[in-house]
Symmetry: C2
Subunit: 373 residues, 2 copies
């Protein structure tokens, strides 16, 4: 169970955008968007599911299974890899890709829009559904393309990254960027970029200890105090470990497949998440201050009020960094919304498909939400 995660490429296709200009001002050619389609011939309409942090296309909860109660079984479902995750164009596979702090949700969602409209010839979406950073992308969709999306389903997510969430992410980022092998790895990359000689020993450096420190720093946030009190780490499919340390090591193993700089680019994008920056005609371009000044509520509230889609918010009661209180606040500004709290001790990952009862609840409530008029 503590084997490093293997990459699963099943069913993945790529759309190449010939020229793409990021909000940072950088223009790149041949920007790829990775995606996978399910039930492509369905006449019931299309649902888009963007990936979450640490997620790949084939680790994303789709709710498209064969059981009659599977919420999305009848739809054409497109799972899309957000830019930066290593499947779509990313720092790890594309020269001059935006650095940490430069990539924004607006870029990610605009690339997905180009995939759908220019390549897949789709002119509207039944829904955008996502977990965590996937939900933040769904929110951005509804603000950036208000007439394109009928429903937004944001699971354990938010329209703006809270200060607490921002502060939590500073931990894993600090652990990685101060680690001895991340610093050596970056120095090696910088030499290569300058065309300098680099020995084979150096070329083989992978910031394993840095990524392990990153994952260990992250681990206590994933679930909840109650989950640990119930010793869930010693039970069940996600866990079943003889010691807490073994469970934490398995969390580390799960990140060993990742490029360290991709992890940082996405973590910074998450920290900067704010739909107030994505209002059409009023976009915030270029770098945003990474210090988290007291945020501008007016733009955020205006963006929430601008959403035409019906919105289903599904926070988990015990989520330590996307707490239900934030969803309730957002709901006050939305025109047409419902908050359905996942009553679970699984915290944030309750929304990620790891605990079958929570997934069944998601499935049922999402199915009901989509079938209502």
């Amino acid at each position: 169970m503590s084997q490093p995660q293997q990459y699963d490429p099943r069913g993945i296709e790529y759309y190449t955008i010939p020229t793409f200009t990021f909000t940072s001002g950088t223009t790149l050619h041949d920007v790829k968007v990775a995606y996978r389609r399910f039930n492509a011939e369905s006449p019931a309409g299309t649902i888009l599911i963007p990936t979450c942090y640490g997620g790949f296309i084939n680790t994303t909860l789709t709710l498209t299974g064969p059981a009659p109660n599977d919420a999305l079984a009848k739809y054409h479902v497109v799972v899309v890899a957000m830019l930066g995750n290593g499947e779509s164009s990313s720092h790890s596979n594309k020269a001059f890709f935006p650095e940490p702090g430069e990539l924004r949700y607006q870029d990610v969602v605009r690339a997905q829009y180009q995939l759908l409209t220019e390549h897949l010839k789709i002119s509207s979406l039944v829904a955008v559904m996502g977990f965590s950073m996937g939900g933040q992308q769904a929110y951005h969709w509804a603000v950036m393309y208000p007439d394109f999306v009928s429903h937004v389903i944001a699971i354990c997510s938010s329209a703006r990254t809270s200060a607490h969430n921002y502060a939590f992410l500073e931990g894993p980022i600090a652990a990685l960027t101060n680690s001895i092998d991340y610093i050596a790895w970056r120095a090696m990359k910088a030499k290569l970029a300058r065309g300098e000689e680099v020995g084979q020993n150096m070329k083989d450096v992978v910031p394993k200890n840095g990524i392990r420190a990153f994952a260990r720093t992250y681990a206590a946030w994933l679930t909840s105090a109650a989950w640990f009190r119930d010793r869930e780490w010693s039970k069940g499919p996600f866990s079943g470990f003889g010691s807490l340390n073994d469970w934490m090591t398995a969390r580390e193993d799960g990140y060993m497949i990742w490029d360290a700089q991709d992890l940082l680019v996405l973590a910074r994008m998450w920290q900067l998440g704010d739909i107030g920056d994505a209002i059409p005609g009023e976009e915030v371009k270029g770098m945003k201050d990474l210090g988290y000044k007291v945020p501008e509520d007016e733009r955020y509230e205006k963006a929430l009020r601008s959403i035409k889609a019906k919105v289903l918010l599904m926070p988990c009661r015990t989520d330590q960094y996307f707490p239900p209180e934030d969803s309730e606040i957002e709901a006050e500004y939305l025109q047409n919304t419902r908050v359905e709290v996942i009553e679970s001790t699984w915290g944030h990952v309750a929304g990620g498909g790891l605990n079958p009862p929570d997934t069944a609840f998601l499935n049922e409530r999402i199915g009901r939400f989509l079938s209502e008029e």
Copy 2:
């Protein structure tokens, strides 16, 4: 406000224990216990206040002020630095001091007992009161010396470190121990210990980046989601910063006075905290597995039941790592206890004296608890 913390030596005295054997088996000579006395001539009896993690004698909340409602004003109060904190004997000031994972609460409390009985000639305590790790020491006092202590006051604390708390602490520890300058610093120290030559450049290494990463990883845990939502970091005395990053940098600055290895020794002791290991005649000696296996509930429950002191537990409603639920569980096994929850958004630090309304509540309830028959 982001100046590094200055050390305050006011009023500190030292007692030297001629020979002290740690539970790890190590015997050292001249082990020092640092302390400060307030109102030493009081006939009302003695209250002992051990330091918390990151705490020094003169940063410890004493509730001994001159106002008539100050809970401890009439008592003889002894604030004692736990072994390992840099004031008492510690890794930073004493050769062959126990390594991280070796120092246990039993050692710390036994040294305090020797200070009180052998040096200060005290034969009983009205109370042991402590915040966080200080509360864990108070709990150990009641188990190790059940006839010596009349009252235990444990603020934002627990009798056994929870798995969640253990997992959270793995983050700062990983951030520090994988950092480039901590590793260089340890290598330099090892060379010196072997009597090898070390250049002045190396001798001057201080693991600043590692300690900063440690503190940054810690910061989001200190208060609560609500505290961040209310933007308390931009207000008030603890905070009042223009950006969240400035507040986090100030948290880092606060740790720059610390020796990195002392931080680790105390963090490991905290992780291993369990009064079940301290039952007289059944002490768990030597190293304990650091992987946090599923803990033995029987010993823990027996230790709780063995406590003769009246116990006041004061968790904070929003404490992220010593939640009130754990105090309620402990209360089920205690003979004579009361749980008074601090209703505050200040999370863990509500118990540390940072927010005046919370401190006033502590003061009032502690005064009431001590005056009752």
